[in-house]
Symmetry: C2
């Protein structure tokens, strides 16, 4: 999920106050005990991040997966999570899904807190990881001439969301049970110039990487992977939908990725727009703006 | 705040599943690199943990202080926090108080997430600390014959809460701006046999330490420190009120604490009750049971 938040912007405005030092757009990177720890904290709110009536087991899975995706983008190996949980009526399902996710990703629950509350429930997860590669990749390192890559299709979560919302026969797995690209992130971390996960949408996240790196990406949509079941007319929409948790990364010119990935664009000197898609500046509303 | 939660109990019931391994009642203790990290995550919910209309600067302070108090009880040195924040209408006040607390305790904000939600707001804070002493103190180490100590008065937060709620001239500072006993915790960690912070009330927290240590504490209430302004008739109540964030700890027989503290009791072999106060088993409802 996005950390381009109003809070962080406000805290940045406090600079040079110590409260703002070390604040990052995505994960925190902390040297500790001779190693480097990666930390991320994401929240999910009922009615905002999950559908009313959605199986809480899927919500638990997604909460874990979304946080681990942030670690994947750092090439980090997960070492544990802390959970902040608002008690509700279907906690057994939540526990079941939490258990499934922690087992699937081999991550222990280290601790947490629970509260009772009326109104929409709020969940928070802090995930910790060990950096496997230093310097730790971030979104700021892309240079003109670098190639832009994506690990897998975008739009599958959108189709899954619609299947779930409309109760159709199509698969909703991609929306309900995303898979953080942990192995891919570790394989890529030593060679990328920039990397992030695509949580809010390909175009908006590519634009963020471009802005952080002070370059412009030219993206060729014919090279962007989409699910086979996506109607071609919806490809533009799929590039603006989030929740797919693929990795977006750049490589120096002439370098090939060590894992399967799709070469979707190239970095150049900054022009007026952070991204150019098929030769044109895309219209506004690039993706989901969390706040 | 308490972690004696329904969730953690439920997760324990999953054991021997890996999800439950390493789960602790209070902080997580994590060996990382060549050092030991202490992690805690506490939540606060509008209408439960703070009064409607309360200054959000005070709420921010308390969120930070309560988490750092957990670190203090481990003798840990704080190294940073991650914030999960529900946006609202008085975020500027929250930021102001957050800034004050982080400055006062010299702790950086490392990252976090913000969300929008309707209904009562929920806040989460993850605090990280570096253990200054190993083994890290916990609540399980008290033995028969050990002496029981408290760093400072209980009941001040209760009086402060009432001053705030009833808008009297009395000071509400103890409730609004608690001070985690970080220096005291570090000084005590190498010599205590057990230690915890008193967040839910002296009697309930002493009972938890007794149960975790499989001993009984005999507490002499005449040695328990209270604020000067507390009517003597309210001493029993003050021992059942939380939010004072003093440290409760045990020492081997004959050892004196290196900081000012009050000798309030003694551990003995377990009897029928985890605590005996002035020779009698206290009535039920020992303190605030967070869930």
């Amino acid at each position: 999920m996005s950390k381009e938040s109003a809070l962080i912007a406000a805290l940045r405005a406090l600079a040079p106050h110590p409260a703002a030092r070390g604040l990052q757009d995505d994960c925190a990177v902390l040297d500790f005990g001779g190693e480097t720890m990666i930390l991320t904290h994401d929240m999910m709110v009922e009615g905002v991040h999950w559908l009313p009536g959605q199986d809480m087991a899927d919500v638990a899975w997604k909460l874990v997966a979304a946080n681990l995706s942030d670690l994947a983008a750092k090439g980090a190996e997960p070492i544990g999570v802390l959970l902040g949980f608002t008690l509700g009526e279907d906690d057994t399902r939540f526990l079941h899904g939490l258990n499934e996710a922690l087992t699937a990703f081999a991550v222990p629950l280290l601790g947490g807190d629970t509260v009772s509350a009326n109104g929409p429930r709020s969940l928070g997860l802090t995930a910790l990881g060990r950096a496997t590669c230093r310097p730790v990749p971030d979104r700021r390192g892309a240079s003109p001439g670098d190639t832009l890559w994506l690990t897998g299709p975008v739009g599958a979560a959108m189709l899954g969301f619609e299947a779930l919302r409309d109760k159709t026969d199509a698969s909703s797995t991609a929306f309900r049970r995303p898979l953080p690209r942990l192995a891919e992130g570790r394989a890529l971390a030593p060679i990328v110039t920039a990397m992030m996960d695509v949580s809010d949408g390909l175009l908006i996240d590519a634009a963020r990487m471009a802005q952080a790196s002070a370059i412009t990406f030219a993206i060729n949509s014919t090279n962007v992977p989409f699910p086979a079941s996506l109607p071609p007319a919806r490809q533009d929409e799929a590039m603006r939908w989030g929740d797919d948790y693929e990795l977006l990364f750049t490589l120096p010119p002439g370098t090939n990725p060590p894992i399967p990935a799709h070469h979707i664009g190239t970095a150049s000197l900054p022009s007026g727009s952070p991204i150019i898609v098929d030769g044109a500046v895309p219209h506004n509303n690039l993706g989901y703006m969390h706040d």
